[in-house]
């Protein structure tokens, strides 16, 4: 069964056309599968890659002797009268002489490399050279083409194949001298499909109903249960739990976690992104859209909230909040993580290698690495408040209630003892007039200034329509803003700085602090007013509010004028509100002319302002900072008789809400007027065109060694970005899912294959490069990749195709012969049993016991874990164990703390979310046994099961049957039944003898009250509950329970 054509390969022709990036190739596959002769991709490249290319490969900085062996030009270059490789002439090929040499000075690879070629490897090279030394491009770098589906004419298996997939598998299997296993039994198939597609075992009722439908179909269709099977598959693909199951796999790649990582590892609101992934998978969002929204959803026209949330994919990078770090350094690390994660997730490339130097094996140069970084590096990283209609309604109702209360407020004005309530109106009115007079006297005419130039050391200052300045971009621990006004009026006596809230700022501002300090914080260390480089002395400064978040020292506007940037003004705790400071000049500035204001921000973390406005007054009395809203202050500059009704109301309300006499009743109104806090998703937002972030090559990958600036681009071996669009994140995302991309579709289908069949067709799921393993079934991989694209990137259709195959439906039984011929089941002559993922180990116990609370979505939860599980985390993290339903939610909703992941999941190989993980292990350890035996999660499940089983009528046999059905979806075999009954008898005897007590066995669970042991139960009934709890514990511990069989 040879699918490929024989190689028609003429060296001179090749030399003429192979100029791309330096690697030389004819189309992959063209010469590449002649079982009797060495093929470059299958046989030769692995030898060169493992032994030669580190010194004689793509990296020109590491290249020895000016020889490269990864290209035909390099390998056949004249080295001074001889060549490393002379195609067709092994005897003249220096390479062969050197790899066979006994002389330590001559032998290649050199002795210090600890590498030697085996005789077989040398022979492979010799044959290959004798055959003409045909190079071919690495198979994975050539776009997949739809291969012909093999015909298998072995009559023994005429009816075996159900899908094209099976014909590829069968053809290869037979070539290996293997034959397929029989189909697994109905019970096994039902459980397998449930676990694979939704990650939960079926309930007893579900299993029974599907069992009947499958058997019925089997009976009526003469042994074919096809219709029922496909109905079950469709049913499961339509389940909302499907998204939960498959989202968890994607989140491994996305390095999802609910905390920031590093030392402080504080919580973050990442779960809206997690929910987005679940919803997208449930909706079968095509993978191309799924890709574009996550990488560049913010750049889509009229991006929706969901599309913005999707960009959380790359906000899963860690954030170091350790005191005193350089935020730009850790931002650089986050960028290297983004490049590596994007490459692994979409392309199966180990691009991280090229951070420090040109890749040793794959055609990715050092510079190209930073070009990819440039594509991803032009976004700001704001929070997005998730206001939805419901929250808006809540806030609206609050405001209405506040308005009602406000209307009644005057009636609560306190009167002196014995005063007539009828006079209250006049009392309030007099107080109002006095207040207006007082406030008006303190009111100044402020001239709000529009800066003619607003610059800084790094962040972007943008003047807004209301003359305020909005700040975006990166901030540092020491930022200075410079505001220039070309012409201010004569006679200035004071300058006012308003710091303003803005929905675009962390916690609505006014500061830009986003880590270490509280979100929205700022710290103004120095405030200066200058004319022509002369600092104008400030005689006094006042502020409307001041509070320091760190340390005991006072903060004030005055301290921002003392020349010491370590002291200054800050407004802790009242974020999202406007505040102001007023700086009075020692001498009025007599002449009109230019003015400059400089502000210096920062402490041991960045604490720059996010929005502010400057104003001046020429009032000779100077000025004080005030808490009065700006609009009210403006109204007060106008005489009462010119006030509109609305203005009068506004002044009146301000008076009432600030009157000390009404402090208590007004407090409720203030609370109602405060915006409810809503979760804020972490998103990307592409920078404005006038403020691009430059990207540089970094020598040796080090942050401090930035060299040449680069623009966005992709490695030359990939399809180039289209010439007619800007080369940015969006173009990159689209290119990744263009049908001619050689890697993306292959990498995705391989990952899904691995999830269902135990290992990928390419077993190195995260490395499709030269050093990765070649696919076991290259044509099948390409067939699936092409199908995936042509079926509109539908993951559900891919899953349907795979689970409907006969290959998938085989039994997992393994014979000694199979084990000997194919220990790793590369040729798929059986179903690969694999232990389920960590979260599913718990999900299974919860579902089988009936404890599972299947609620979807929402903030993370805290199921029980052993005392002290988080004790090594910095600051001794608390674990606020959930009570009530949240205790029994699916594993995907468990709070994931990076420096102290949920202990049980960790034990079962779940990742910590610190790096992108392409492949989870399925280890098998004593610590896992201890968890299943002794962890509260499984004990609660066992008890809950035990109490229910003890109620089941029909005696031990029926109870064991129920237990097996719930946990294993099958009836017990006679031998199992015997063992279970013997165990039950032993425990009953021990209970009767007083060696065991039922009470403690049933008292560990704090679950729903209705499930607690009924104190009225007699000893025997309690004893039965205990016996069945013990038996349930046994079954929950079985290998079969936590395995896809």
């Amino acid at each position: 069964m040879v699918l490929s054509k024989p190689c028609s390969f003429h060296l001179p022709w090749c030399l003429a056309v192979w100029v791309v990036w330096g690697t030389t190739w004819c189309a992959a596959g063209a010469s590449d599968d002649r079982p009797d002769r060495p093929s470059f991709n299958r046989d030769v490249r692995p030898i060169l890659a493992a032994n030669c290319l580190a010194c004689h490969g793509p990296d020109d900085n590491a290249r020895e002797a000016d020889l490269r062996l990864d290209t035909v030009q390099g390998a056949t270059a004249d080295l001074g009268g001889y060549q490393a490789i002379v195609p067709g002439d092994p005897e003249a090929s220096e390479l062969l002489r050197r790899v066979a040499s006994d002389d330590d000075d001559e032998r290649m690879p050199p002795p210090e490399s600890n590498k030697t070629l085996t005789a077989a490897e040398r022979e492979t090279l010799r044959q290959w050279i004798a055959d003409g030394a045909a190079y071919a491009q690495h198979w994975a770098f050539v776009a997949p083409q739809r291969p012909a589906v093999p015909e298998v004419d072995d009559p023994r298996f005429a009816g075996w194949s159900r899908t094209a997939v099976d014909r590829f598998i069968l053809e290869r299997m037979l070539r290996e001298g293997l034959t397929p296993n029989p189909e697994a039994d109905v019970d096994t198939l039902i459980r397998r499909l449930f676990l694979d597609l939704i990650g939960l075992p079926p309930t007893v009722e579900e299993a029974q109903s599907w069992r009947l439908r499958l058997r019925e179909a089997q009976a009526t269709e003469g042994g074919v249960m096809e219709e029922g099977y496909q109905q079950l598959v469709d049913h499961l693909l339509g389940s909302p739990h499907y998204g939960e199951r498959w989202a968890r796999k994607w989140l491994d790649l996305a390095r999802y976690a609910d905390t920031n990582g590093y030392e402080k590892d504080r919580p973050r609101t990442m779960w809206p992104y997690r929910d987005w992934v679940i919803r997208a998978l449930n909706a079968d969002m095509p993978f191309d859209e799924f890709t574009i929204q996550q990488l560049a959803g913010d750049m889509l026209p009229d991006a929706t909230t969901d599309q913005l949330i999707a960009t959380g994919f790359h906000r899963n990078t860690m954030l170091n909040e350790e005191g005193g770090i350089d935020p730009l350094e850790f931002r650089f690390y986050a960028m290297t993580d983004r490049v590596a994660t994007t490459a692994t997730t979409w392309m199966g490339l180990t691009m991280g290698c090229a951070q420090c130097h040109t890749h040793k094996y794959d055609p990715i140069t050092h510079r190209e690495y930073y070009q990819v970084m440039a594509l991803l590096n032009n976004a700001d990283e704001p929070d997005l408040e998730l206001w939805d209609a419901a929250e808006e309604q809540v806030y609206q109702r609050q405001r209405e209630e506040a308005a009602d209360l406000l209307a009644q407020l005057p009636q609560q004005w306190p009167l002196p003892d014995g005063a007539n309530p009828a006079d209250r109106h006049d009392v309030v009115q007099r107080a109002f007039e006095a207040w207006v007079a007082r406030e008006r006297a303190a009111t100044r005419q402020w001239i709000e200034l529009c800066p003619d130039r607003a610059t800084s050391n790094l962040p972007l200052l943008t003047v807004q329509a209301d003359q305020s300045v909005f700040v975006s971009g990166d901030i540092t621990k020491d930022d200075t803003y410079e505001l220039d006004f070309t012409d201010v009026p004569a006679g200035i006596t004071a300058v006012r700085l308003e710091v303003l809230p803005d929905a675009r700022l962390p916690a609505r501002g006014p500061g830009l602090t986003y880590f270490e300090g509280p979100k929205g914080d700022f710290f103004l260390g120095e405030f200066r007013v200058l004319r022509e480089d002369q600092t104008l002395p400030i005689s006094r400064a006042t502020e409307s509010y001041a509070k320091n978040h760190f340390g005991a020292l006072p903060v004030s506007a005055q301290l921002a004028t003392d020349g010491d940037p370590q002291t200054g003004w800050s407004c802790a705790d009242r974020y999202g509100e406007p505040h102001q400071a007023v700086f009075v000049l020692q001498e009025p500035l007599a002449a009109a002319g230019p003015l400059r204001v400089t502000m210096r921000f920062g402490r041991h973390f960045p604490a720059s302002l996010g929005r502010f406005r400057l104003a001046v007054t020429t009032d000779p009395r100077g000025a004080e900072a005030r808490s009065l809203p700006r609009e009210v202050e403006q109204v007060l500059t106008v005489e009462d008789r010119h006030w509109t009704a609305a203005q009068r109301d506004q002044v009146w309300e301000t008076f009432l809400l600030s009157a000390p006499e009404l402090k208590e009743p007004a407090a409720r109104i203030h609370a109602l007027l405060r915006r409810p806090t809503v979760p804020a998703a972490l998103i990307l937002r592409e920078r404005p065109p006038e403020h691009p972030r430059p990207t540089h090559v970094h020598r040796r990958g080090e942050f401090l060694q930035a060299t040449e600036e680069v623009t966005g681009g992709v490695p030359a071996f990939l399809p180039p970005l289209p010439a007619d669009t800007p080369h940015n994140r969006l173009a990159f995302a689209r290119a990744l899912v263009s049908p001619d991309h050689p890697l993306t579709a292959r990498v995705q289908v391989n990952r899904h294959w691995a999830a269902l069949f135990g290992r990928g067709l390419v077993r190195t799921e995260g490395d499709f490069g030269v050093q990765g393993e070649p696919p076991t079934h290259p044509e099948l991989l390409d067939y699936l990749a092409v199908e995936f694209i042509e079926r509109g990137w539908s993951v559900k259709q891919l899953h349907r195709l795979l689970v409907c195959s006969a290959t998938y439906r085989q039994s997992a039984q393994v014979t000694p012969d199979q084990l000997a011929r194919d220990p790793q089941n590369r040729w798929l002559s059986r179903f690969s049993r694999v232990r389920v993922d960590a979260e599913l180990v718990r999900d299974i116990a919860l579902r089988a016991s009936g404890l599972l609370v299947p609620t979807l979505y929402g903030p993370p939860v805290y199921p029980p874990q052993p005392e002290g599980a988080t004790e090594t985390a910095y600051g001794g993290a608390e674990w606020p164990t959930s009570s009530g339903p949240d205790r029994y939610r699916r594993g995907i909703y468990t709070f994931l703390k990076r420096t102290a992941p949920y202990a049980m999941y960790n034990t079962f190989d779940a990742p910590s979310g610190e790096v992108c993980l392409a492949q989870r292990e399925a280890s098998n350890t004593p610590l896992q046994s201890l968890a299943l035996l002794n962890d509260a999660v499984f004990l609660e499940a066992a008890e809950h099961l035990g109490m229910q089983l003890a109620q089941v009528a029909g005696g031990d046999e029926e109870r064991v049957r129920q237990l097996f059905q719930r946990c294993l979806t099958r009836d017990p075999r006679p031998a199992e039944l015997t063992s279970m009954r013997a165990f039950a008898a032993r425990q009953r005897a021990r209970l009767a003898a007083g060696e065991l007590a039922a009470g403690p066995l049933l008292a560990t669970r704090p679950g729903p009250a209705e499930n607690a042991p009924d104190p009225a139960l007699n000893t025997q009934a309690l004893g039965e509950q205990a016996v069945w709890t013990m038996l349930a514990r046994v079954v929950l511990n079985l290998d079969e329970t936590i395995t896809r069989n």
């Binding site: 170091n320 993580d337 041991h604 393994v814 000694p816 232990r835 090594t872 610190e914 201890l930």
Partner: protein, 484 residues
Amino acid sequence: MNCQAHWMRHRGAAASRRWFLGQCSVGVGRIALATLLAEQCALAADDAPRRDPFAPRPPHFAGRAKAVIHLFMAGAPSQLDLFDYKPALVAHDGKPLPASIIGDQRYAFIRPDAAVMAPRFAFTRHGQCGLELGEVLPQLGQVADDICVVKSVTTDQFNHAPAQIFFNTGFSQPGRPSIGSWVTYALGAESRDLPAFVVMSTGAGISGGTANWSSGFLPTVYTGVRLRNQGDPILNLANPAGVDDALQRDTIDLVRELNEQQLTQLGDPEIATRINSYEMAYRLQRSAPELMDLGSETQETLDLYGCDPATPSFARACLIARRMVERGVRFINIYHEGWDAHSDVVGNHTNNCRATDRGSAALVQDLRRRGLLDSTLVIWGGEFGRTPMVETNPALGRSLGRDHHPQAFTMWLAGGGVRGGMTYGATDDFGFHIVEHPVPVADLQATILHCLGLDHRRLTFKFRGLDFRLTGVEEHQPVLALLA
């Protein structure tokens, strides 16, 4: 004999059970069969994962050390107040350092022009070698002739979490295997009753978190196992309430019986491994409490360490570490977090030395008198050093502290083939730069591996197409001058 054939001949449930019981007569070791099966049936194929990841494996060459105890002083102790005495700091106290020395070094909190601060403690000489130590380390002085002080360690990182992770894994970001994982991956385990790589912690929570003992891209079984201060020493070690030993045994027996039936049914060797895991779990339930029970230690020993056997403390962890070494544990981390003296070096270091000095010294003495020091490498030190300059920050309420200093810091080693009574490397008059024998962290890692008989260049793991090693791509070498 072909194990597979053998195993398949004995596949019948009863036969297999008898085989389990008969062939493996050692205690609960019927399970050794499963191990054996699993190990040998593990199939010759190159890419087969190791069936028994902890099977003892020979080192690259004969090494003196069989075990390592790393006393990780997290938060970074001040070398200038404990080990590296600098009279010039006294002379310059209160004055800025010459700019030529500081260069363009960045700092976490202080400004480079901050004033010099003199050592906060008096120094005295100890032992025949005349080792100079700050007065807060009197007990360490008692073993001065057993330890090798390296004054010229240098790191790339100057923030805690990245520097700790770098020290353990050779890389500043999480994701790479820790040295304990590398070592157990390379050498396997001596003990089947206790984990091969154990992590203890006293003091505050650890900046680098679990990444410090992560197996990275090595198989997850090589992750360090936490020995906890609260609750069970090992996660889920104790039987649940109401479950006595007989019930636990009966439960595990029934689980095994049913798993064996399944093994018979399906023939998947992974089931045999699962059976084995349960037996090891059962053994661990016995061996771990035995390890933690200090009842068999003499009063004299308890006094040597100065520990209360019932209360978690650094000294108690040191004593438990010695017991682990006796029981064949390969690699032990004891973290003591809390040395981050940005303020009040005197108070901070007085307290931390009080908590760690006696235990560290006792560990060396105790290992020596039991003949274990030669085969056990003890390492003491932090993730970086502290500045010669003072840290003062009224806004943060800090005074008389020191900031992070990656250029030069001090560690000591003892046992495992290391030469006692010596000092290696030197810093300049201000303790700022190294002037003699710099020891980058990777050189130290190479040295640790060397003591265990491992060549850091040969200890590699193929991941994503590359042969990764602990010490990274740069050229590094073990510091042979430290070895006896």
